[in-house]
């Protein structure tokens, strides 16, 4: 569904992503793991058009993505839940969700998607009239995912959904991520620092280090890889 070939992205003199190639087949959860500053977020930001790639290509359903503006990429069905969630803090939960459906003109579809989002995250329904900035970190993450789902994407990129959340909340969020993939057939590219968790929910994984892919394979195999164990899984 998504094929990235030799993607290169940089800021000024720094090359943050250096010739990354990866593939995400339709219906799968694929994860991109790596430490701080490995280039994970940069990769996602280039794929959603927030950053311009210096080289390489990314095709989605056969069409080239590099060079498109972010709103054109969203319109093709690529959702992006960004690092730090980036919810609209001054707007209510309800307004945030409506903003997520900005490109969806069909009111019936918006209403149906809303119900599905509430099915995944009942907390959002309870907090509908509350200003999004007053939500807890976990609720903000739910809202960020819900907002991306409101656009009706075919493919969802999640950037560190576990960041800064209490362990039991992380579990709950990941359960819903798996549910979104299973029940709605949504393809997911998951970026995570929490490698253990990412390898549990994904079918295939790429390991990024200093802007390059250093390891790739089925998640079940990587879980037992001794190199990965010492570097990312705490022995």
């Amino acid at each position: 569904m998504l094929t990235v070939t030799n993607l290169t992205v940089g800021y000024g003199a720094i090359t943050a992503v250096d010739g990354v190639s990866l593939a995400v087949p339709a219906g799968a959860i694929v994860t991109l793991i790596g430490g701080n500053g490995a280039g994970k977020t940069t990769t996602l930001r280039a794929l959603s058009g927030l950053l311009r790639a210096r080289g390489g290509s990314a095709t989605f359903d056969g069409a080239e993505l590099t060079g498109l503006a972010p709103h054109e990429i969203v319109a093709r069905g690529l959702g992006h839940v960004p690092e730090g969630r980036m919810i609209f803090a001054n707007l209510t939960v309800d307004e945030n969700l409506r903003m997520g459906a900005y490109l969806v003109r069909d009111a019936a579809q918006v209403a149906a998607t809303r119900e599905r989002v509430f099915g995944l995250f009942p907390r959002l329904r309870e907090r509908l009239r509350q200003s999004a900035g007053t939500l807890s970190g976990g609720e903000q993450q739910m809202l960020a995912i819900g907002r991306a789902l409101m656009g009706g994407p075919k493919f969802l990129m999640l950037d560190e959904p576990s960041l800064g959340l209490a362990p039991q909340l992380v579990g709950a969020i990941f359960e819903q991520i798996v549910a979104i993939n299973r029940s709605q057939g949504l393809t997911i590219l998951l970026v995570e620092q929490n490698a253990r968790l990412a390898l549990e929910v994904s079918s295939y994984a790429y390991v990024l280090e200093s802007g390059r892919i250093v390891m790739a394979g089925p998640s079940t195999e990587l879980r037992n890889d001794p190199r990965l164990k010492s570097a990312y899984l705490g022995g």
């Binding site: 959603s48 058009g49 927030l50 503006a69 972010p70 709103h71 969203v74 319109a75 959702g79 992006h80 960004p82 730090g84 980036m86 919810i87 609209f88 803090a89 001054n90 707007l91 409506r98 903003m99 997520g100 900005y102 490109l103 900035g133 007053t134 970190g137 903000q140 907002r147 991306a148 409101m150 656009g151 800064g164």
Partner: protein, 299 residues
Amino acid sequence: MQEFLQQLVNGLSLGAIYALIALGYTMVYGVLRFINFAHSEVFMVGAMTGWAVGRQLPQGTWWGGLVVLGAAMLVCALLGMTIERLVYRPLRGTATLNVLITAIGVSLLLQSVFQHPRVFGATPQLFPPVFPERNFALGGVALSSNQLVVIVVAALLMVGLELVVHRTRLGMAMRAVALNPQAAQLVGVNINAVIALTFALGSALAGAGGVLYALNYPTVEPLMGVMPGLKAFVAAVLGGIGSIPGAALGGLILGTVETFVGGSAWLSTYKDAIAFAVLILILLCRPTGLLGRVAPEKV
């Protein structure tokens, strides 16, 4: 009391013009976080357009006045979009200071172009009386039809803007860009189109402001935008830069205060100084302005 009401009416009609100009400052600040100092020249171009079009039309008619108003708004909307496209967009992403200095450059450029004798020249010209003129006396308060036009047109435009911002997809997109440009793009907002339309709307309001101003202070010249532009900027800061109701409120307050000061026997020479004293006071005591607020950020 009569004197007070008279000054209040005068002040509100001046304030309504400041409010219209201030809206443009605040809207552009909202989406781009910089002060478009060329905005006062957009106001001037609005008055100039009104002057040029108004001279060709029969005077003292409602339709003629409305055509003049519409033409000025249209020309200014196009001018604002052109400035954004040619000057500010290539600079987007660079330091705010660069954009600010460039805005001052655009402002001086427009002043100089209009001072050229082939374009307009430096001599002030009389603005034609495009609207029908009548004077009313309401309980001893003198009210000109032009003052009424100012108040009514300004009120309609502000209500219209409020509807656009809160009831339309464009308004929704504008608010999203103002709150978080990246998140707005990720929900599918075309940020370039929204910024261009924000400039168009803000500039059209300044264009209307230019015509309304020229109706009541009936001369036009290339430097006429400087003072009203600066005062509208003060009004926008007073109301809380970035806040649309704030800009409207700030304009009305500033216009009223200025008129009262100008009407008092021993302070009248300081009426311009008052506006800037207000600016200094707000920046010292309440930098976010009356209705502005600091966005809560949670990481």
